[in-house]
């Protein structure tokens, strides 16, 4: 059953929202490791416990520092990813309830993903290590590439619903989900989510040629915060994507608050399966394609949406 409005609940529910976010993120990590175990030749069931094993390993590992590291900025960079993901979830409605239905919810989400620029660069800068610093700068190059297409991809549902409020966007999808008539915006949004999570094909800032990149000097709980932060960002992005494009809590049989995690998990699973087939995208190649091909396509999409909206009214 679809609900016409979204009601705000008190901020005391925030830990519950964080728990749901981390739960779906953990499920995503387990699926990813199960697929990796199958590639390795081991049974996929052994992959399911790998994220917990990795967490245990990092909790047991000692923390580490380097000579003249910029510790405050480094730790802010490390913990920032998880914090930003939690802040993103604030505007995402779970069915009928949301923690804060900001009048500018979409702009809030955009602001949070811009903060990721600073967070990842700080994580690279703080370590006082050559590879770490270079990886931070490579992430900025990648961010320059995806940010404008992402902003315009977020503009498409805004124009379609006539409002920046996330509740209005969910309500405007009653008849038809936005993904049906804004497919380009949806695809670009998904790619941008993977890119700002520093994950999968867009993990140039933490890859093998960079000797670990921003993760190169991190160990113990600091490393866990960055790794968990990446998964949390990916999940928050997927959840926001289902709200903006896949109708949020709308759907038959199940209640709205169950549909949101189900759809988010489905989108997350699609990301995870597709990631296995793609190599890492190098930022210098990515910038060309993003500015010359993707950006005009998204602008065209926004034009089409605007024409439809004007024609409808």
């Amino acid at each position: 059953m679809t609900e016409p409005t979204v009601t705000q609940v008190s901020a005391a529910w925030a830990p519950f929202a964080a728990a749901v976010l981390l739960g779906v993120a953990a499920a995503g990590a387990m699926l990813d490791r199960a697929l990796a175990a199958r590639t390795d030749g081991r049974p996929w069931q052994s992959g399911l416990t790998t994220p917990w094993g990795e967490t245990a390993r990092l909790l047991r590992q000692r923390r580490r520092t380097t000579l003249v590291a910029d510790v405050p900025l480094w730790r802010i960079g490390g913990a920032g990813l998880l914090v930003v993901a939690m802040l993103m979830v604030v505007v995402i409605p779970l069915g009928r309830w949301t923690i804060d239905d900001l009048p500018v919810g979409i702009a809030w989400f955009n602001a949070m993903d811009v903060i990721v620029w600073a967070v990842v660069w700080l994580a690279g800068w703080g370590a006082n290590s050559a590879h770490s610093l270079m990886a931070g700068y490579r992430f900025l190059a990648q961010a320059l590439a995806y940010e404008l297409p992402l902003m315009f991809a977020l503009t498409a549902p805004t124009v379609g619903a006539g409002s920046l409020r996330v509740g209005d966007v969910v309500a405007a999808q009653h008849g038809l989900w936005f993904v049906v008539w804004m497919p380009v915006a949806f695809l670009v949004y998904c790619a941008a989510v993977v890119a700002f999570s520093v994950w999968g094909p867009f993990a140039a800032a933490s890859g093998v040629p960079e000797a670990g990149g921003v993760l190169a000097e991190l160990s113990g709980i600091d490393r866990w915060l960055v790794l968990a932060g990446r998964w949390a960002l990916l999940t928050a992005g997927a959840a926001f994507g289902t709200t903006l494009f896949l109708g949020g809590g709308a759907g038959p049989l199940l209640p709205g608050w169950l549909w949101v995690p189900v759809k988010t998990t489905a989108l997350l699973a699609a990301f995870i399966v597709l990631r296995r087939r793609t190599p890492t995208v190098r930022p210098e190649r990515f910038i060309e394609i993003a500015w010359l091909v993707v950006l005009p396509l998204v602008l065209l999409q926004v034009l089409v949406v605007s024409i439809v909206v004007v024609g409808r009214s």
Partner: protein
């Protein structure tokens, strides 16, 4: 006690190992990697990521400083071992497992270490005349930049001068860093040390050298250059650097299969499937193909050639591919970005074991 035990057991089930290969022991390294894959362990990307350090082969004295520096950079709990024969790989990994799970021993090791970060060795290009060696490249205290003896009032945090500036190829003032790549670096030719001078993140000059082994490797501990397993090893390394972990693991497993059963038809069929899969991937071509570079520097072309070379030579090949001489590396690498340098070095036809045997370890 029960919770500690549980934590230790799940932690060690998922250990990560930093593998240091000495030139000539590539087959032993393959055995170690296969053992790790079977247990669910993974190769570490950097010393901070590693639980265990495995030196494969008998390393000469010059390696000692590098390996010791890397050992110091491992956070605890940690364990260390040496493997000199492929058959010992499984037993050594078992020993590492036991050592990592032993809480008492790890606590004693942790108590015996200092809490201050260690100052590394100097990384300047002029400093290579000293004894001792550069260690892992991601050590921060290895970037002193240009040292000017006259600047006594220059700020020196931690006793290291700030990076000096110089004009790069586009005329921009960029920081000059000295970044030595290797000898302990994942997906890197064994024993190669490439001392790069980097301005921004573009390499302006480089110097190549190969650290020798303590003695000749026993026959059978190395992969024969040009043979199908060696070609697949190269392909796996290129795929890993390109970021396609799945295909890299598939190539590595095929390599191990071919090492165990050189003439299996199932292996040949799997190789055909891998070649089709890699050839079909447009994103791979877009990602790592070179643009207008001289042949030999194109990582994508080299990858396809390595895979086809493995397919076309089920028996021992007659002539192995021509080797890149060590002094070609600095010119190949100049003006390229550091991550591209990793790809280029992996794509260059380098066999450090042959260089060590021939004694041509300096350009």
């Amino acid at each position: 006690m029960g919770l500690n035990d549980l934590l230790a057991r799940s932690a060690v089930a998922r250990a990560s190992v930093l593998v240091v290969e000495v030139p000539g022991w590539s087959r032993a390294r393959c055995a170690v990697e296969a053992g790790m894959r079977r247990r669910g362990w993974r190769p570490a990307l950097s010393p901070a990521d590693a639980d265990a350090l495995v030196v494969v082969g008998e390393a000469a004295e010059r390696w000692r400083a590098a390996v010791d520096l890397v050992w110091e950079q491992l956070p605890g709990p940690r364990a260390r071992a040496t493997v000199t024969a492929a058959v010992d790989a499984a037993a050594t990994l078992d020993g590492l497992h036991a050592e990592l799970a032993d809480d008492t021993r790890q606590r004693r090791d942790a108590a015996a270490r200092s809490t201050e970060p260690a100052m590394g060795t100097q990384a300047g290009v002029n400093a290579q005349a000293q004894d001792g060696d550069r260690g892992e490249d991601s050590d921060p205290d290895m970037d002193p930049g240009d040292m000017h003896p006259g600047d006594m009032d220059m700020p020196m945090p931690g006793g290291i001068p700030l990076a000096g500036g110089a004009e790069d190829r586009d005329g921009l003032q960029m920081d000059v860093l000295h970044v030595p790549l290797g000898p302990v670096l994942p997906a890197w030719p064994a024993g190669l040390v490439l001392r790069c001078t980097v301005s921004g993140d573009v390499v302006t000059q480089a110097e190549a050298e190969v650290l020798p082994a303590a003695g000749p490797a026993p026959l059978g501990e190395g992969l024969i250059h040009g043979s199908p397993p060696e070609r697949l090893d190269r392909a796996a390394r290129l795929l890993l650097l390109a970021g396609w972990g799945d295909a890299a693991v598939a190539a590595a497993r095929l390599r191990d299969e071919l090492l165990d059963a050189p003439d299996s038809t199932a292996g040949v069929r799997a190789l055909d499937r891998l070649i089709r899969r890699v050839g079909r991937s447009r994103s791979l071509r877009w990602s790592i193909a070179g643009r207008g570079h001289a042949s030999g520097a194109d990582a994508y072309a080299q990858l396809l050639e390595a895979l086809r070379g493995a397919r076309a030579a089920p028996a021992r090949s007659s002539t192995p591919p021509a080797l890149t001489p060590l002094d070609r590396l600095p010119e190949l690498v100049a003006g390229r970005q550091l991550s591209s340098v990793r790809l280029l070095v992996a794509a260059a036809e380098l066999d450090t074991a042959t260089l060590v045997r021939a004694g041509t370890v300096h350009p």
